[in-house]
């Protein structure tokens, strides 16, 4: 059973227009650059896209937005992308905004076989609309449901041929949960090593969650706001 694919393009096998797809990353940090590029070049369309952010105008998911490959965006914050705002105001793009912690937990829940759970976030706001409400310990909560995907695209620092992944610094973010929530999870890594090379105590995403893995290339790792102390 070989999980190792040659590149992003091959790892997309079976991806179809209109699917629900997840992309790891927070801002531009830890995004699956190679997979996004391959999808961009592949000319797919009508995705329901789940990602915390929507990239910037010309990088990350912004590339798919510009090519109108995304029909609906499920995210928590899309403020860094003007093209997004244009398409939304023009009605070309649907959007569902979800509180970031609820988004993270709904994705984890999908991977963990928990169909629904209660959280306090969003109670009394428009997030609560049409949702079940219940009081626990004197505090109001709303019922939230698991968020699954057909494909989950994640990016890790190191990975092995068994699909185990290790993230670096804040580039983990949504990747670890999304890896568990895709029917097919495609992981791209900066360094692909043979099974047995990584310390089994230090795996962030166990290989069971990863169906496909490939050695990524040409990472740009753009920075949105370079802030320095000097």
């Amino acid at each position: 059973m070989n999980k190792v694919f040659k590149n992003a393009k091959e790892a997309l096998a079976g991806l179809k227009d209109g699917m629900t797809v997840m992309f790891g990353g927070f801002g531009l940090c830890g995004i699956p650059e190679n997979s996004i590029d391959a999808i961009h070049e592949g000319g797919f369309s009508n995705f329901i896209c789940i990602s915390n952010n929507a990239g910037i105008d010309d990088f990350g998911l912004g590339k798919l937005l510009r090519k109108h490959q995304i029909k609906k965006m499920i995210a928590s914050y899309v403020g860094e992308n003007k093209e997004f705002e244009r398409q939304l105001l023009s009605g070309d793009l649907e959007v569902l905004l979800i509180p970031q912690g609820t988004l993270a937990e709904r994705i984890r829940a999908a991977g963990a076989g928990i169909p629904a759970f209660f959280v306090p976030a969003g109670y009394g706001t428009e997030v609560q609309v049409d949702k079940e409400v219940r009081e626990f310990n004197g505090k109001m909560h709303i019922l939230e449901h698991a968020l699954h995907s057909d494909f989950a695209f994640v990016k890790a620092w190191k990975g092995d041929t068994a699909g185990n992944l290790i993230y670096r610094h804040t580039a983990d973010n949504f990747n670890a949960m999304m890896a568990t929530a895709g029917k097919i999870t495609v992981a791209e890594v900066e360094e692909l090593v043979p099974a047995g090379s990584l310390d089994p105590n230090q795996i962030h995403t166990p290989g069971i969650y990863v169906q496909r893995i490939f050695q990524g290339i040409n990472y740009q790792k753009q920075i949105e706001f370079t802030t320095t102390s000097d």
Partner: protein, 218 residues
């Protein structure tokens, strides 16, 4: 004289306690980190997956894999840890963060907060703000007392879409330090040189004034 942004941040810093885990929002709240009292051990939480934010990096230490929730490059301190977003919000939702400081468009006398959306104008998304206000034990709002047109931001009821209900505990503005109580906005301190009368004028919601209102000590 009304406080500037640094003044607001400085007053909020006086609320910090040794050992606190703190989440600072974007804008004025971020400035609070510059006024942490000497010798106090504080751990700053960034909801994108870092506990123990350090100062901005020097140019040669800039790392694309190391950003804060505002997508700015940062560093980490000794004793820091990295984790995924589910874990990060487990910390928030589970009540492990001692203090959250964030900005707001409006706060109501019930402690409701509106901070994320201006219909027809601003559709960036709530990010982690709804999770933070729904779950933090202790929320301080840092904001101007009035908007650019002079309209009060401390209202009877919020007019903008809410971020959370009955959650704000304290407000520090350019004019005052206010405790949100069941009875309304309780005026606790005046900014240096600001009169109670000025604060009354700038507050639409129910303002409770009991006894002498001391000036802030900054």
């Amino acid at each position: 004289m009304a406080l500037d942004k640094n003044g607001i941040a400085k007053r909020i810093a006086a609320e910090l306690q040794d050992g606190y885990y703190v989440n600072l929002g974007i804008g004025i709240p971020t400035l609070v980190a510059n006024f942490i009292p000497e010798g106090m051990q504080l751990t700053l939480h960034s909801e994108n997956g870092l506990l123990g934010i350090g100062p901005f990096p020097t140019q040669d230490k800039v790392d694309a894999d190391l950003i804060n929730a505002g997508k700015q490059t940062v560093t980490y301190i000794e004793g820091a840890s990295f984790f995924n977003s589910a874990e990060s919000f487990a910390m928030i939702r589970g009540g492990h963060i001692d203090l959250t400081v964030l900005g707001a468009f409006e706060v109501s006398e019930q402690g409701d907060i509106a901070s994320w959306k201006i219909p027809g104008k601003l559709i960036k998304g709530m990010g982690g703000a709804m999770d933070l206000v729904a779950a933090a034990k202790n929320i301080i709002v840092a904001m101007q007392h009035t908007d650019r047109d002079g309209n009060s931001k401390l209202l009877k009821k919020c007019t903008l879409p809410l971020t959370g209900v009955a959650c704000v505990k304290r407000i520090v503005t350019d004019l005052a330090f206010i405790q949100v109580t069941e009875r309304g906005f309780e005026l606790r301190e005046r900014a240096p040189g600001v009169s109670v009368e000025e604060i009354i004028q700038a507050t639409e919601g129910k303002l409770i004034i009991e006894g002498d209102i001391p000036e802030m000590v900054l």
